[in-house]
């Protein structure tokens, strides 16, 4: 107890000084105590309890209060990043401005080039010159030697830069010229650039210091060699797309061949198969010369009843050996049409399918098979989850739009399982549809080609179906194709055995080798990690030289591809497709290559529904692992850039850039795994058809049909149409000049924009009429590609980058949501206990 000073005097004593010094802290403590509602005599741990575990009231919680400045910092950081981005964009624009001028100058130069005149002059001079025997081979030899010289001459950095600029300038002019020869020239230049790169790579960049570096280095070289092989084979395959047009039917209808239409099905619902059957019944062909058969491997009663009510054939077999191939072979034995048309159960043919396809069978007696494109009117997982439906060509567009056309020139078109017509005689000669592999369609065509028969491809969509519904179904389908192609490669290699021309062998080989992309793609996704994690140099060359050799190669191939393939596949999208499938395709193809007998056939599910959006964790596990690895590599890369490997900045930067590219592609892959919701079970097809609306009061309105499906339509009606949801109406659609009406109910009415109608139950004739007015119209799919954006490579890259970032965001939100659902917050749990 200190001596207290007499009252009235306040001379500070040491004790009171101490006490005075304590007063502010005591005041602070008291204030804090009031804030936290901790009493004076409260034990010490009560402070901590109030701080962190159970705040006195939500407004007084400590954690959010502490986090407030953090949030402010975050917002500030975001603002800074946005400004930094703008400055960067401005700087990039300034840097690229002279390049843009150069591009424009090249475009202007291209307008001065008169391709037609050039062709005529070339014809004038070259044709007589080529008559001289042997000159053709001399020119080819000279060309080959020149090409080799160009490819193998070593340049220093300046020379290589000059070469790059020269190639680039030429390509920019060539890409604006119309015709096949500029395309060939572009492809040739890109082959030259690739050849130079390959030569340099093989001769100057594989000297390794250690065993592990050699192993990884040769692995990367093998992956790159694979891409070179595919480019060369692809160049040959698509050098001259044939653009075959349909042949006119000859003779009277009584002399046309008989056709059996097979619709194999296994476990698909009747609603999916019904439309196909109705459309097949509406095919334009003499009624006594076409028979429709449902081949039901599921042996279901409702299908049998449906077939009976429609008056179509119904074929079953006692077992399910060899899946679809066995099903088709069994039906071959039970029918006798001269031609066989095969449709997957969800591929709806147009009326004009047979009149388009059969002409070539009449014209060419050796023609054994005619294939038409597989078209999908519903979005596949890429289009749906990334939102690119009808803007960006889908994955199959390259194959059916360009590759099969190119195959046709070399007589190497192969059967794709559906939307095709096959001649019975040759098919029976090769023993029916092949059963040795899971890709029975391509194998059958290979056998037909070995016998000397020809095949044809007509690039006009005459049937359309449903795309795979979810990413897992899509991946399953691709695994089957990859496995099948690898099996054929082992069992019936196109390079061995007789009966094929060299060009057919090359085309088939490319089709099969394409599916081996799994391992090389994985190598590319993980290659920079060798340096960034372990500092192993797997390419023994300076980064500048690498850039100078790789850049022209990439630039040339992109310009050439954009020109040749641009309308069928936008630049850089191949990377996305391959990245998504790489992991899954790698193992099955390797296994099938080693032992073709392993592996089972898995059917693709058709007609499923994604009713709740979800993130497919199972499918995206490999991408997640790769993403984490790449992010870790990126982090290491930054550290090496700033601290550890400051003398190898160029190499680190190159590897970092590569990693960023991989991260963006993987982000897009994650975006595809995030399944968006599908609203309707029956996919609607967008269109513009004239329609009429009959209302109860007798008024008839003119309308425009904006979309249709087998269950309903969307009409655009004039403003102010008095309609209420639930009204019964009739909708009129036209089949040629006949108008057919269908009973419908108003489902959705939003004033001016499209009104949705759902069809009421219809009679058999009405259903046939509906298919004929909608799906089976010959011109239904003709303008499908008009809505595609033109291919702008840099813009496409930017879009894919944005999709990558979006993919990561979706991934993160899905992660947080699933974590929250597993570990709910304490507050929620506390509130749950209160009522009890």
């Amino acid at each position: 107890m200190t001596d207290q000073a007499p009252s009235g005097t306040t001379t500070p004593t040491p004790a009171t000084e101490q006490a005075d010094a304590l007063v502010p802290t005591r005041k602070a403590l008291m204030w804090l105590g009031r804030q936290l509602e901790v009493g004076h005599e409260a034990p010490w741990w009560m402070w901590l309890w109030r701080c962190f575990v159970l705040p006195p009231s939500p407004q007084r919680a400590l954690r959010p209060w502490l986090l407030r400045p953090v949030r402010g910092l975050w917002a500030g950081l975001g603002w800074a990043m946005r400004w930094l981005w703008r400055v960067l964009a401005l700087a990039l624009t300034l840097v690229f401005w002279p390049i843009r001028l150069f591009l424009r100058a090249m475009d202007r130069l291209a307008t001065h080039v008169n391709v037609g005149k050039g062709m005529r002059l070339a014809d004038q001079w070259l044709t007589p010159a080529l008559e001289i025997p042997g000159l053709r081979w001399v020119i080819l030899a000279v060309g080959a030697v020149t090409g080799l010289v160009v490819m193998t001459t070593p340049f220093n950095w300046f020379g290589q830069l000059l070469f790059m600029l020269l190639c680039w300038g030429q390509s920019l002019v060539l890409r604006r010229l119309p015709g096949r020869y500029p395309s060939l020239a572009l492809a040739a230049i890109s082959l030259l650039a690739m050849g130079r790169y390959a030569w340099w790579r093989l001769t100057s960049s594989i000297e390794f210091d250690s065993v592990i570096e050699s192993f990884l280095g040769y692995g990367l070289l093998a992956a790159e060699a694979y891409t070179w092989l595919v480019v060369v084979l692809g160049f040959i395959q698509t050098a001259w797309p044939l653009h075959r047009s349909p042949a006119e039917l000859q003779g009277a209808p009584a002399s046309w061949p008989t056709v059996d239409v097979y619709i194999p099905t296994y476990n698909e619902p009747l609603s999916v198969v019904r439309t196909t059957v109705l459309a097949s019944m509406a095919l334009d062909w003499p009624k006594d010369k076409v028979k429709v058969f449902i081949l039901d491997d599921g042996r279901r009663e409702e299908f049998r009843a449906f077939a009976e009510s429609m008056g179509v054939g119904y074929i079953v077999r006692p077992d399910n050996n060899h899946a679809k191939a066995g099903n088709l072979n069994h039906a071959l034995g039970k029918t006798d049409g001269e031609l066989v048309a095969i449709f997957d159960c969800d591929h709806i043919p147009t009326r004009s399918f047979l009149t388009t396809a059969v002409g070539w069978f009449q014209r060419d007696p050796k023609c054994a098979m005619l294939q038409t494109p597989h078209h999908f009117f519903s979005p596949d997982p890429f289009e749906r989850n990334l939102g690119t439906f009808r803007r960006v060509p889908n994955e199959g567009a390259l194959f059916y739009g360009l590759i099969q056309d190119g195959n046709d020139f070399w007589n190497a078109t192969f059967f794709c399982g559906s939307c095709a017509v096959i001649r019975r005689g040759p098919l029976l000669e090769v023993g029916g549809i092949a059963v040795e592999t899971v890709t029975e369609d391509a194998h059958t065509a290979l056998k037909l080609h070995r016998r000397g028969y020809t095949t044809a491809y007509i690039n006009e969509t005459q049937a359309a179906g449903l795309a795979t519904e979810s990413l897992s179904a899509h991946v399953g389908q691709r695994i089957r194709w990859a496995r099948g192609m690898a099996q054929i490669f082992r069992v019936d290699n196109p390079f061995l055995g007789k009966g094929l021309t060299l060009w057919q062998r090359i085309c088939y080989a490319n089709a099969m080798v394409h599916f081996f992309f799994g391992l090389p793609r994985l190598v590319f996704l993980t290659a920079p990690m060798a340096f960034l994690f372990f500092e192993w140099h797997i390419i023994n060359a300076g980064a500048i030289m690498i850039a100078l050799y790789v850049l022209p190669y990439i630039l040339q191939s992109n310009i050439a591809n954009a020109h040749v393939q641009g309308e069928h596949r936008h630049t850089f999208w191949a990377e996305v497709y391959e990245t998504v499938l790489a992991w899954y395709v790698a193992l099955p193809t390797t296994v099938a290559l080693i032992n073709p007998r392993l592996g089972k056939f898995n059917v693709t599910a058709k007609g499923g529904l994604v009713d709740e959006p979800y993130f497919d964790w199972v499918i995206s596990r490999p991408y997640t692992v790769l993403v984490l690895l790449n992010f870790a590599a990126f982090g290491m890369g930054l550290l090496r850039l700033f601290f550890w490997n400051t003398e190898e900045t160029a190499t680190v930067l190159l590897n970092l850039l590569w990693t960023v590219y991989s991260i963006l592609m993987l982000g897009a892959a994650l975006g595809v795994a995030s399944e968006a919701r599908q609203v309707r079970r029956m996919h609607r097809v967008a269109t513009q058809l004239p329609a009429t609306l009959y209302q109860d009061d007798g008024t008839v309105l003119r309308a425009l049909c904006l979309d249709f499906s087998m269950t309903g339509v969307g009409l655009q009606l004039p403003e102010g149409t008095p309609l209420a949801v639930g009204d019964k109406v009739q909708v009129g659609l036209w089949r040629n000049d006949t108008e057919c009406t269908f009973p419908a109910t108003v489902m959705l009415h939003r004033g001016q924009s499209a009104t949705g109608f759902q069809f009421d139950p219809m009679t058999r004739e009405q259903q046939i009429d509906l298919v004929q007015c909608t799906f089976a119209r010959p011109d239904t799919w003709r303008q499908w590609n008009d809505s595609h954006d033109t291919d702008r490579p840099l813009h496409g890259l930017q879009e894919i980058a944005q999709l990558g970032v979006l993919g990561y965001r979706k991934f993160w939100t899905s992660l947080v949501e699933s974590a929250r659902s597993r570990w709910p917050l304490r507050k929620q749990r506390g509130q749950e206990r209160l009522p009890a």
Partner: protein
């Protein structure tokens, strides 16, 4: 001056409606149009804006020998209308005698009319056979036969052929328009396909639908193109007008592929 006769062997198939609407559509597009009613029903006026049937028309005037066009009036769309007017049976008899004596009477009267050079004259005729309908056929540059989509229409092949032979218009400007068509009814659909088989390309691709909008427009003394422009019947009538103007309005409907058997 172009004279178009709208004729029909059947009653109630929509000649007056057709004439009124063709005149209206033409007038809206700025053409000079005159609609002459040769039909004693005297109802053309109420299609074109009159609240009641015309109280004076050309029939009584012509029967007494006066200038027949004194009873004409213009409506707000710019259509010049010459209604029949109320007529007793004696007036009709006098007119028939007049036509029997002077077969060219209608032609002369039309030429005497004070109308612009490019005027289109639409003649609404009574049910054929009738002397006035015959006279109209003889002086028409283009003939539009109007028939309803029913068994009655399918059975009138001979009558229509007789009409077309009696007309002096070139065959490519003789057309048959199907009216009062309701595709919801099986009998109409069958009748239309039978008519197509009978007449082939002479049948106009535009069939006028049976539409409540038309009846409502008549009740309001208007044309359906003004009152309900989005009605299907308005669209069909517009199509017929275009066919008459020899302007190709829409791409031709795709013909079936060569050699395909019709369903």
């Amino acid at each position: 001056m172009r004279v178009i006769a709208v004729v029909s062997p059947l009653g109630g198939s929509g000649r007056t409606t057709m004439v009124a609407h063709l005149a209206s559509i033409g007038a809206r597009q700025g053409q000079h149009t005159l609609a002459v009613e040769l039909c004693a029903q005297n109802l053309l006026g109420i299609h074109l804006g009159m609240p009641r049937p015309a109280s004076q028309g050309w029939a009584a005037l012509a029967a007494t020998g006066s200038w027949w066009a004194d009873g004409s009036f213009d409506n707000t769309d710019g259509v010049c209308v010459l209604p029949f007017g109320p007529a007793a049976p004696e007036t009709i008899t006098t007119l028939h005698q007049l036509l029997a004596a002077h077969p060219q009477w209608l032609q002369d009267q039309l030429e005497l009319l004070d109308v612009p050079e490019d005027c289109t004259i639409l003649l609404d005729t009574p049910q054929w056979p009738s002397p006035l309908a015959q006279a109209a056929l003889r002086c028409a540059d283009a003939v539009l036969v109007v028939m309803e989509a029913s068994a009655r229409g399918c059975a009138s092949t001979d009558a229509v052929r007789a009409m077309l032979q009696a007309s002096s218009a070139a065959p490519n400007v003789q057309g048959i328009a199907v009216t009062r068509f309701d595709p919801r009814r099986a009998s109409h659909r069958e009748a239309l396909s039978t008519l197509r088989q009978q007449w082939g390309s002479q049948l106009l691709p535009y069939t006028v639908h049976e539409d409540e909008n038309l009846s409502r427009a008549l009740a309001a003394s208007q044309c359906v193109n003004g009152m309900a422009p989005h009605a299907q019947s308005a669209h069909d009538l517009q199509g017929i007008f275009h066919w008459l103007s020899a302007v190709p309005p829409l791409p031709p409907l795709p013909a079936p592929a060569a050699g395909v058997v019709a369903p």
